[in-house]
Point group: C2
Chain length 167, copies 2
């Protein structure tokens, strides 16, 4: 899975609309200015988000964009799939499952790809726009942590191959 520049812009724009939720429609120009995004490119992105029923538009003078659903109901996974495609690192989940069934020689390889996509999906499905803007959902209990306080928005992820890798 790869998040493109466009995907990042989409998420930033949606975070901005989340902050202004209930302030009515916001002009493209204002979103672009506040988030420092190229205006015409952003226009295309918002159009796409509108067609996917994630935002809605008000046309004409005094027009603009606003979220179509409450921020708690819009998940990162949905946005990234829309803009950048499947979450799997290769192909998509469906295809990987089929390859795991059929391609005896590479079964284990595709299974790893599927495991990676499941791990990503788990995180991205559980993170909403509200989480991104307000911090973690208060309903989620978190074990107390002594040092290295968890700054993540998410239930802490067990490290091991993470922390010290250079990427």
């Amino acid at each position: 899975m790869k998040v493109s520049q466009k995907g990042l812009y989409a998420l930033q724009a949606l975070m901005m609309l989340t902050r202004r939720y209930s302030q009515g429609a916001i002009r493209i120009r204002d979103i672009a200015y506040e988030e420092n995004l190229p205006e015409k490119f952003l226009e295309l992105i918002l159009l796409e988000l509108k067609n996917a029923r994630i935002v809605e538009s008000v046309r004409g003078a005094k027009g603009g964009y606003q979220l179509r659903r409450p921020p708690e109901d819009i998940r990162m996974a949905e946005i990234i799939r829309l803009v950048d495609g499947p979450l799997a690192p290769f192909g998509d989940a469906e295809q990987l499952r089929s390859l795991i069934d059929r391609d005896e020689d590479h079964r284990a390889l595709y299974q790893v790809f599927l495991d990676v996509r499941d791990a990503a999906a788990k995180i991205l499905e559980n993170t909403t726009l509200a989480d991104l803007v307000n911090g973690p959902p208060t309903s989620v209990k978190r074990r107390s942590v002594k040092k290295n306080r968890n700054t993540s928005v998410l239930p802490m992820v067990v490290q091991g191959g993470g922390k010290e890798g250079h990427d």
Copy 2:
């Protein structure tokens, strides 16, 4: 993170060399034929793997390629980083950490990206070529599972946003 066709070819070729480990050098042509890969493209890939000291070559007639280290010592993460770049879904881990520090408004967003990359890294760092070819390392204890036997090469991943997603 995205695994390209080239990345897939690299992994397939290395799995093949793992199966023939201790059979000496294998010709590019044979790898290409057995794994059904474009021969000239594979040649470039193997060259890159050689420069990264993952495989070594024998030149001249009777030449070919073989793994340079035992299969248990070659991790998927290393191959994917080499061929397709950082494991993070956006930028790289270093950059994300820096953005989390500096970009107050988008901190939570970048933190999620980093969580995703850590989850991927954890899986890919713990999977070696030996695992891909032989199945899971015998040293890893696995909880017994009644139905839905775990076919993965890895310590089972907790689902939740995974299993039923369309991707």
